[in-house]
């Protein structure tokens, strides 16, 4: 589905990503982990075509990124989603959720949307302004929007930052359910202790790709090994 070949990215002469190669296959739940500033968000931005790498190639569904047109197949939840919303914005949840179908010119399945609202506990909020939402509600709103066009891949960039422990647990349970239904998920996080058991692949990134493989193989690494990737001590726990 997604293939990255020898990708390198530099900014103002500074190396951000170096010679990254990885593959995401249908049904994968890939966690891209690494320290802050390790290049995780930059890699996602390259994958989504927001920035152009100086070296390397990206293939989406077998097509080179510049020729790829079916962007509705990818749902994306950015880092700090909704945090910079203008408080004056009178956009209702309904309007917000309908926007992708207008932008990508794809029909929205209203029954599926109702289902999504139910899953994310947003049904009662449909006519409310999204600027009145709590952070947790906003987070769920952005994920529901990313899923509204039934994408094949969902990319989430640090989605659980700012959520309390219970909300994080619920959030990962919902993600696991979608994964079990066949959704391919790419999750970017710097918190390795948040990895759900549902994750089947891990990519450990800190400018270079230190590890890319099965979750079980990643679990074999000792805390000392992980500290080597991260350049500081980290813990190894899972839900």
């Amino acid at each position: 589905m997604i293939q990255v070949e020898n990708l390198s990215f530099f900014q103002n002469g500074k190396k951000i990503l170096e010679d990254i190669s990885l593959k995401v296959e249908k049904g994968d739940f890939l966690a891209i982990i690494g320290p802050n500033g390790g290049g995780k968000t930059t890699l996602i931005k390259c994958l989504l075509g927001f920035i152009k790498p100086q070296k390397g190639k990206i293939y989406l569904w077998g097509k080179e990124l510049s020729n790829f047109k079916d962007w509705h197949l990818i749902g994306y939840v950015p880092q700090r989603a909704g945090k910079d919303l203008n408080p004056m914005f009178p956009l209702t949840l309904k309007e917000f959720l309908h926007l992708p179908s207008l932008l990508y010119k794809k029909n929205l399945d209203e029954n599926y949307l109702e289902e999504l609202l139910e899953i994310f506990g947003l049904t009662e909020l449909l006519e409310r302004r999204i600027t009145s939402f709590s952070f947790g509600q906003l987070q769920r709103t952005y994920i529901a929007r990313a899923l509204s066009l039934k994408p094949e891949v969902l990319i989430l960039d640090e989605p659980s930052v700012g959520l309390d422990f219970i909300s994080q647990k619920n959030f990962y349970e919902i993600l696991s359910n979608f994964h079990q239904k066949g959704l391919t998920i790419i999750l970017v996080t710097h918190e390795t202790w948040l990895l759900t058991k549902e994750v089947n692949k891990v990519a450990c990134l800190n400018q270079r790709l230190y590890f890319h493989g099965a979750h079980e193989d990643f679990c074999i690494f000792s805390e000392k090994d992980l500290a080597g990737f991260y350049f500081h001590k980290i813990e190894h726990t899972h839900w």
Partner: protein, 266 residues
């Protein structure tokens, strides 16, 4: 009866005003949401220099070319903002201030040295209903047509850009470029009516009130349109009855909206 005589006398001004009020209602809410409400203010201040330049050279051009001359010169000066920002490595608001002050300084210099420090300059600064003719109305009408078609094609992109920096596969560059071009066009046609100093008020007051009062975004544009139209109408009537400039009467009406909004919010 007296009002009817005035209506006939100022019909082109009123028609041009209606076109301008509708045009700005189609863009101003997006401008506010994108936190760029000072953009028309900067454009209109830059515009004084092209206006003074035009008054010096207009006898050499057919009148059909006056509007393109204003547009191209204003766009060139606006481009200098990006140029300064990029090559001096300074924030865009800083370079906007620099270009604005330079344009104003040059415009005043030219006005004083070419004996335009009189009614012409006052007309540019405060606007005038009286001087608006059929040609001005047609320009406003064409800008309205542009505004309607751009709005139809790009409204969803403008809306998305109001809260999203990036979306996969969505290219904002063209729609944003055309959006800023449209604001420039609207500012140019509004200057004769409202003057350089107050034309940008049409981009701020009504849309702010509409954004604050609407329960959904779909209502924002019609409410802005209605409030703009109301300001134009009452501004016209008040300016005639009290013999005050139309632009200041209109802004005072808009000020009342904000006052009422404060009361409602309380």
């Amino acid at each position: 009866m007296e009002l009817l005589i005035y209506l006939d006398l100022f019909r082109w001004g009123l028609l041009a005003g209606i076109c301008f009020a509708i045009s700005t209602a189609l863009t101003s809410p997006f401008l506010i949401l994108q936190r760029n409400s000072l953009f028309p203010h900067a454009i209109t201040h830059i515009l004084l220099l092209p206006l003074i330049l035009l008054s010096l050279v207009k006898s050499f051009f057919p009148s059909l070319l006056h509007f393109p001359f204003l547009l191209i010169t204003t766009l060139f000066l606006s481009y200098l903002i990006h140029f300064f920002s990029k090559f001096l490595n300074i924030f865009e608001d800083t370079s906007t201030s620099m270009i604005t002050y330079l344009s104003l300084g040059l415009a005043l210099l030219l006005a004083s040295k070419t004996s335009q420090f009189d009614l012409t300059l006052l007309n540019y600064l405060f606007g005038s209903f009286v001087t608006i003719d059929k040609k001005d109305f047609l320009e406003s009408f064409f800008v309205l047509l542009f505004s309607l078609s751009f709005f139809y094609y790009f409204k969803n992109l403008w809306l998305a850009k109001s809260f999203e920096e990036e979306l996969p596969g969505i290219e904002f560059k063209t729609s944003q470029g055309l959006f800023l071009l449209l604001i420039t066009l609207q500012s140019i046609v509004g200057v004769k009516l409202m003057g350089v100093l107050l034309v940008s008020s049409f981009f701020v007051f009504s849309s702010t009130v509409a954004l604050k009062l609407s329960s959904s975004f779909s209502r924002v544009i019609p409410i802005t349109m209605f409030l703009n139209f109301l300001s134009l109408l009452f501004g016209f009537v008040i300016s005639i009855y009290f013999d005050i400039p139309f632009s200041s009467a209109t802004v005072l009406i808009m000020g009342i909206y904000i006052f009422l909004l404060l009361i409602v919010r309380k």
